[in-house]
């Protein structure tokens, strides 16, 4: 709780606060067997400066929530609203949502052959800021951000995510986070496939960016491991398409002990779903 009051103090120092409100969100995908509902009424409010851990079993819809919020074409919204400072973003294209300040760190970042990281990053920053950063400032900022993430400088000339190791991909996501400075960031299993050193570097990056840019974070994870490095203000349990329980950091410890089985529909267990 000491952690939380410290954050609140920081929040008061920042002039702008923003709010992301998810209300009654229902969404699903079209399958061969017909429509499949995955999000079954999601409600959540996130303010800048807050870190929300979203935990739940495999297949509960955590990633779908991340993709639906950022506008992936595969997911269709049935009902509900998502307001960013009062603007309903569900009607917006993915790039419009990004320009409003939404960022998704993907579980499996996509390779884009032939597009260099520098070209990609500069294009993205230009689009999100609305103007091209001056070349000198840009090069300095990029070098510095890469140095902090302990990334090889040659990395900038490689194609986006192509041939990157799991750890490099995740660091590349954090690099983008630090350069794009969003208002709200979703991290979809940023901790998956990371060894302990890479996990620490990535977590440091999140904490540093949070401190500098004061975004609201939704940290989607299956395991409590990353929560040792990135301290959440709230922990939510997500099961069968909705939030079923909310608490403080202590809830993560409880989940570590008890698992997710009690939140699943009767007759199903985590191991059975996997």
């Amino acid at each position: 709780m000491a952690e939380m009051s410290e954050k609140t103090a920081i929040a008061q120092n920042v002039q702008e606060t923003h709010v992301l409100e998810i209300r009654g969100l229902r969404a699903g995908v079209e399958t061969k067997q017909g429509r499949k509902e995955i999000l079954k009424g999601v409600d959540l409010t996130v303010r800048t400066g807050e870190i929300h851990a979203i935990m739940g079993p495999n297949g509960s819809g955590k990633s779908t929530l991340a993709y639906t919020l950022t506008g992936h074409p595969k997911y269709e919204v049935e009902s509900g609203t998502v307001l960013l400072d009062g603007t309903d973003i569900l009607a917006l294209k993915p790039y419009e949502r990004a320009r409003l300040g939404l960022f998704l760190s993907m579980q499996a970042p996509v390779e884009v052959p032939g597009v260099s990281m520098t070209n990609f990053l500069r294009t993205a920053v230009t689009e999100v800021q609305g103007s091209a950063p001056s070349l000198r400032e840009w090069v300095g900022e990029l070098d510095e951000a890469m140095r902090r993430l302990r990334m090889d400088p040659r990395f900038a000339n490689r194609s986006v995510n192509e041939g990157f190791s799991g750890g490099e991909k995740k660091r590349s996501e954090i690099l983008q986070l630090e350069l794009l400075k969003p208002k709200f960031a979703l991290f979809d299993e940023i901790d998956s496939g990371l060894d302990i050193d890479a996990l620490r570097i990535v977590a440091e990056g999140i904490n540093r960016a949070e401190k500098a840019d004061h975004f609201g974070a939704m940290l989607i994870t299956h395991y409590t491991r990353i929560l040792r490095y990135v301290k959440p203000d709230f922990v939510h349990v997500f099961a069968d398409g909705r939030f079923v329980r909310t608490g403080g950091p202590e809830l993560a410890d409880e989940l570590e002990q008890t698992g997710y089985d009690r939140y699943l529909p009767q007759g199903k267990s985590e191991s059975a779903l996997a």
């Binding site: 790039y95 990004a98 320009r99 993907m106 032939g114 597009v115 999100v128 983008q176 794009l180």
Partner: protein, 418 residues
């Protein structure tokens, strides 16, 4: 038969010969029916059947737009053929270039014409003395550019012979530009242990037609990187027939094409492994944009009984950027030798990758910009493998100009005019 043999003796000989068993074709791969036995090779056009939509050879091509290529003709001479080093200085030293008589250069010795169009082209070129010879006798430190500049629609024929000496290193670029209807034959022979990078670039003006046949022989222990880049023209159909002069050769074929509405791009890579321990790689990738854009790739790797330890692979990928474009892809393999290292093929025709686009869009990059980045990346990835910096720059400039066309109608008009 010079000596008389009795029927009994003949029967006895036949009984000792291995026989092809269709129920177990892989028992003796060397006995399998081979396209090498069926293929016609001749300098005489009359030896080839008339092209038709049903023939394997011509089934994808718009043959009604190519009829004049199949009948004997007198070349218009509208294609200007010249050569220089990349910096514009005349070729000198180990590089000789000039018009040649059929007798004074090895024209026709690398390979006979492989289809009706190439036999007609041979006749027309030889008859009008339209044969050129690029002879590289030693290593050169900058690329040699052979320019074929078209100056009109009249049907022309050009035959080019490229020879590279043993142990030489050379980058050679054959650059096709302008307005043309061109029947072209190219023969390429690389010396033992030579390293050659040869690119054939097609940047024709609208309405141009180009039928080409390239007969290629890779020297013993030599390495040939063969690049084909077809970016514009109404009909471009190029057939490559490479084989090897001895063991341990490496043939690396890279193909890049970009078809837009009304254009047809066909590439055939008919690799023959005739010597042991040779490697071949064929990577052909293209993008098609707009209704009526068409392409075809037909690849064959024929591994003869004489080529143990062959390692071959062929791949074709097509990126269809908008509805209404048609890409044909036909990989073939004929393996007549059981003792090979590998023979593989892969082929695909796909649309834009939604995941790539979403990734870029989720970073604030707009839809059009994201599509352009993906297409530019598709080409940049391939063009970066050519290995000749000047060529790579020229081609990326062309791609950027083509992508810019979509940006505003004013820009498009300016670009159409030049």
């Amino acid at each position: 038969m010079g000596k008389m043999v009795s029927e009994d003796e003949e029967a006895a000989v036949r009984a000792r010969m291995p026989h092809y068993d269709s129920a177990d074709p892989y028992k003796l791969p060397a006995l399998m029916p081979s396209s090498a036995d069926r293929s016609i090779r001749s300098f005489d056009p009359d030896d080839f059947p008339a092209p038709g939509h049903r023939s394997d050879e011509w089934r994808y091509a718009p043959i009604d737009r190519l009829d004049d290529f199949f009948h004997p003709f007198t070349p218009s001479g509208l294609t200007e053929v010249s050569a220089a080093f990349e910096d514009g200085t005349p070729v000198a030293g180990p590089v000789r270039f000039g018009r040649a008589d059929a007798g004074s250069c090895p024209a026709g010795s690398v390979g006979k014409p492989v289809d009706k169009a190439s036999a007609v082209q041979w006749q027309a070129s030889a008859g009008a003395g339209r044969i050129w010879w690029l002879d590289v006798t030693g290593s050169c430190d900058q690329p040699v550019i052979v320019r074929l500049a078209g100056h009109g629609d009249g049907l022309d024929a050009v035959h080019l012979v490229v020879t590279v000496a043993d142990d030489a290193r050379a980058d050679i670029v054959i650059d096709h530009t302008g307005q043309a209807s061109l029947a072209e034959g190219i023969e390429i022979r690389t010396g033992a242990r030579s390293h050659v990078n040869l690119s054939s670039i097609q940047e024709w003006q609208k309405g141009s037609r180009h039928l080409g046949s390239q007969r290629i022989e890779v020297g013993r222990g030599a390495e040939l990187q063969h690049n084909v880049i077809s970016l514009s023209g109404s009909v471009v159909r190029l057939r490559m027939d490479p084989d090897f002069a001895g063991p341990d050769g490496f043939l690396n074929m890279l193909g890049i094409y970009f078809a837009d509405p009304g254009s047809y791009m066909e590439h055939r890579t008919m690799v023959v492994h005739n010597h042991p321990s040779c490697r071949s790689r064929v990577i052909y990738k293209g993008a098609l944009d707009g209704t009526g854009a068409r392409s075809a790739w037909v690849g064959n790797a024929l591994i003869l009984p004489t080529a143990p330890k062959t390692d071959s692979y062929e791949l074709n990928r097509n990126l269809v950027l908008s509805p209404g474009a048609v890409a044909n892809s036909e990989p073939q393999l004929e393996i007549e030798n059981g003792a090979i290292v590998g023979a593989g093929h892969a082929s695909s025709v796909g649309r834009f990758d939604d995941e790539q686009l979403f990734y870029l869009e989720s970073r604030g990059i707009g839809v059009d910009q994201a599509r352009k980045l993906v297409v530019r990346g598709f080409f940049a990835d391939l063009i970066g493998q050519i290995g000749v910096p000047g060529v790579e720059k020229q081609l990326m400039d062309t791609i950027d100009r083509r992508l810019a066309r979509g940006e505003s109608s004013d820009m498009a008009r300016i670009l159409e005019e030049d």
